[in-house]
Subunit: 217 residues, 4 copies
DNA sequence: GATGAATGAGTGTTCATTCAT
DNA sequence: AATGAATGAACACTCATTCAT
């Protein structure tokens, strides 16, 4: 209205509120506009449609996250080779001496999630019905590719051919669970501090799970 | 129309299909009726409303599950006391010798889930917008109460007062994850056989996680 | 079901309740049947349709009333001729010495109304949307014919030709008001006793009104 | 569609027609829109719901009336004190010399009613099922409060405590009747002129009734 | 940049009524 | 005498979206 860009920001803010309160499907564009003090037409000047509004709200946080994860996986995969070569030994009883790397990346992810807490909560828990409803699945896929390689390495497989259907299944689950841990922490902790202090146990849990699976059979 | 109970069954079947395809909210009663070859009025003869139709589809499977879980928890809690008393020793490296009980109940749950596969998928993944949308959370709560007791026992706590906020958090997560494992197996395995063969790894994972958390700190 | 005629009576009773609670239009036959413990089909065995059910509830009381009124008007009209002939003098200040006849009939009407209080309330205040919605108007018409004659007599008109549009209008109003007095007493007094004790004032009011109109101009 | 405010006015007009023809409950918004040549959505752009449409049709006339009545009652009450003090004497035989005040206000009300004839007919006779269905009762209450005071004065009561249940009843009736007179005139006279010429008799009637009640007992 | 107006398809739900059995 | 099943039309209302101005 008055200021440049003000209206668009107000729409984004009110959209965030409405989507958070009701979820994507039940959210009403009418309501968002009423709350923002503009008519529905105005919304369509800034955004193509409902989908686009939702996308605009979560776009930037999402990009940051994607980058972080992708840049990480190169590092992690290299680390897995070190284990394979005996440079790092997997201890019988899992402790965290050898896993500070994992904590480090986890901490960075958590910090990023809390930097845009509301947007990520939207994206990860309120997107049903939108184009983003399967976004966590996409993240799982991203993680999964790398975890599968790590898994083969840790199992001591000589080639990818040795990976069984059951291996694939459990790796998919562990990837899924990794993502879920982040979502859980995001949605169940009020502050970043709480989240980080709980992450130690969460990581202990998932690494314990990993090792148990590796050694199993 | 033609004979006994046919129409109601057809409505339940078409409802199942529509709800599965589109989720509770986007499902259209008109569509269900059209598919079933009756008018909307007919649906309202058999069911109070949309909610009731959905509820009728999932009611019976749900009851069976509830019973199974509740009857189980008495057994599990008793088992945890045996561990505490030294009757059973937790091995350093988790194996499955001592955990056949856990597998047993898991197997029974999985069998039940697959007995009514489509209904449980509906209930557990397509209920958003209905009265059942938080059903998994309720199951988590059910599990959590018992896991919290077990956790205290395994940690060697003398009284419930020693349980910290962090303990509560991780136990909640593990309860959540236990439920998620079942949902995951249900939605990712086509047959009961596949599900059961993957459950061994899943249980290894979660138990490994548990033990790792118990020993941590 | 069990007894002969029992079901029909139950339907009439539950119909009375539903119509009284919600009015004719908003009353639901479904509800009436549910309350009566039968299916809608049963209702249609006893009654042609919604209208017929309503009619059956009010029929008997209505007939009694009609009879009473009709039989009365012969008497009243004859009385009006006596006044005209000077056999009875209209006092300057209206008192009730000369009007015990009016009170007598009024008392009989009130007693009849209270004998079937609920049915008459239905008929007179809850019939909107049914064929009886104009029933009070019909009663007004019945009264009006006779009041018009009385009016001419009391005015000292030599023939019906002297009746003006304004005369007709005020007579219509007074007829309407006479009926309204009965409805008012019926709906505002809990017991017949209260009704009768208030009727004295009501009759004083209407007779005072009559005389005032007669003397006016 | 075409020009300024046309559609809204058309909706109001067609709404007026539909409500008048069928009453509030049986009126169909679909019909109103069809008649106005717009889709149902358009109606909901201008009006919140069915109730709001009805309210918008009767709002302005209603406000005018409310104002008129409220401003009047101060005057009337003061007049009643004059009677009480003997400044004005109640004649044995009621005539209109002393009641020109009453006629004056009645005339003003009638003129107002006829200024918005159709809207008031709607409000007073077709509102059943809407939020306005008890509007006449509210008007009665408004009148009643003042009539009760007047009644006490005219009866020569020293305090309000002397008012009996029977007094209250008859005053309520007379208040009700006063309102009914206006409704009757509105619905039974085609033109304001007819209405006004009939009001003289109507007022004679009600004042005659009043006096008769006051003197009675 | 934004408004005001309007669309058109859709929603779940309710209703009186019918009729074979 | 009554059931159980079903019809078909109607209801008020909501929605995302469009577009001339």
């Amino acid at each position: 209205m008055v200021n440049d860009k003000e209206t668009k920001l107000r729409l984004l803010k009110c959209g965030m509120k409405e989507f958070s309160d009701k979820g994507y499907m039940k959210a009403s564009l009418r309501n968002i506009c009423k709350e923002a003090g503009v008519t529905t037409g105005a919304l369509y000047f800034f955004f193509k449609d409902k989908e686009d509004l939702f996308g605009s709200i979560v776009h930037d946080p999402l990009s940051e996250l994607q980058e972080l994860l992708e840049s990480h996986f190169k590092v992690e995969l290299e680390a897995s080779y070190k284990i394979y070569n005996g440079d790092i030994t997997i201890p019988e009883v899992p402790s965290f001496e050898g896993y500070e790397d994992d904590m480090e990346i986890a901490v960075r992810v958590v910090k990023l999630l809390f930097k845009h807490k509301k947007a990520f909560e939207l994206l990860l828990t309120k997107a049903q019905g939108s184009a983003f409803e399967n976004y966590p699945d996409q993240m799982v896929k991203l993680v999964e590719k790398h975890y599968l390689k790590m898994f083969a390495v840790m199992k001591g497989y000589g080639s990818a051919d040795e990976i069984t259907k059951e291996d694939e299944f459990i790796v998919h689950w562990m990837s899924h669970d990794q993502i879920d841990i982040f979502i859980h922490v995001l949605t169940h902790c009020k502050t970043q501090e709480q989240a980080l202090s709980n992450m130690r146990n969460m990581m202990a849990y998932i690494i314990g799970g990993w090792l148990s699976v590796i050694r199993n059979k």
